[in-house]
Symmetry: C2
DNA sequence: TACAAAGTTGCATCGTCTGCAAGTTTGGGC
DNA sequence: GCCCAAACTTGCAGACGATGCAACTTTGTA
């Protein structure tokens, strides 16, 4: 049997804990919710909580132990001779598609990350590992050294920063166009060397109608 | 009296605490040192520690309450019509010059930040405010909206990322050239649109002699 | 010298997180 | 069906971080 009762129960508990943590944190703020409350809402003991998540913050942002990066996986499936920036954009896009599924939680989570910098920090530290992995793959493709050369780390840092900025801007906009488009636009600006005169299109008119 | 005994004592205690925290964390790791140990090394009670720093991590990374950004100050002194990327590079340079002073602590601190991502996260969250301030200034200069447009956040994110990557690469190199040069090189790569074919110069030959 | 403001300290307390030693449940061989 | 071993849950005890409160001490000043 590929999927025993055990596995399903575990997955369900994890989901319940993460979901409860997210919901409660959204309502009362991360500091306003205790592990005890989360465990109770999920129907397990406080001690069990720590069998699933290493910290309260991890549960809120929904990061399991081996959050094996979809981003890196996406990059690995791109052709090796593709320009790094293009490959990274494609990887981001592929992750985005997979994300549409649990869009509700994701929306709430990103809102929390913006409202509470401490949470974002926790998230970022997990993200640093991903960044490292991506940089190594880029270094391999460009035959550079991931430690000594700046290019691999630079491309990855710029790409992820662009993604982050794009998501934030997209969330701030009322109209809500396509997130993929906003991200693509940001990458175009990177490719244009961040030269204001050569930037393809700017999102909004200065201000007002 | 502009500088009473009170002020001097406070400053000294703060320095002693931060210094002890840094030194102990470097030796035993951030988790391996307790607030009690730091306080004892600095000759104050554990309770007093929290009159100076909001958390253990803050003491280690040496962040006081009002870490008013030199970076933003550096940016504000640049001409308003300077291209954003150039202005940011200049701002980074100006901060770097001021940093030479306490170079010893700074070196150790950056090493710690690299070894312990959790610390880096704490640092980054403080840094987020700085990033926000820089983006707002860039938005003002470019007559864009800091929330709705991606450009301001994008430039700042890319610039700070480039700085971070450059510092890391510089630390990894044995020969230790000029840090300013490495940073400048990274900014050049940004200005070249991260196009591998147009990147000015690459730091190292592929690998080996 | 006396007094007020500022700073330090101990104490009590809450919450996070970990190790350990039970119990309880599940899956699989027989 | 029965039983065992592995996996999972739970309670308990305890270390540590962090905060509020109420003395107590030091510093600056009248």
């Amino acid at each position: 049997m590929a999927e025993g009762l055990r596995e399903r129960k575990k997955a369900e508990t994890r989901r319940a804990l993460s979901s409860a943590a997210l919901r409660l944190a959204d309502r009362h703020g991360p500091e306003g919710v205790t592990v005890e409350a989360i465990a109770e809402a999920a129907g397990v003991s406080p001690r069990t909580f720590f069998n699933y998540f290493a910290s309260k913050d991890d549960a809120i942002v929904g990061l399991g132990p081996a959050h094996s990066s979809n981003l890196l996986h996406g990059l690995l499936t791109r052709p090796a001779d593709e320009p790094p920036l293009d490959a990274l954009l494609a990887a981001v896009h592929s992750v985005l598609d997979g994300l549409e599924a649990s869009a509700g939680d994701w929306r709430v989570r990103h809102g929390l990350l913006q409202r509470y910098p401490a949470l974002a920090a926790r998230y970022a530290s997990r993200f640093a590992e991903v960044e490292r992995g991506l940089a190594e793959e880029i270094a391999r493709r460009t035959r550079l050294d991931p430690d000594l050369d700046t290019y691999p780390g630079l491309v990855v840092s710029a790409a992820l920063g662009a993604t982050r900025v794009a998501i934030t801007a997209w969330q701030a906009r009322e109209d809500r166009g396509d997130l993929g488009d906003v991200i693509e636009e940001a990458f175009d600006q990177l490719a244009a060397g961040l030269d204001l005169d050569r930037v393809p299109t700017l999102a909004s008119a200065p201000t007002g109608p």
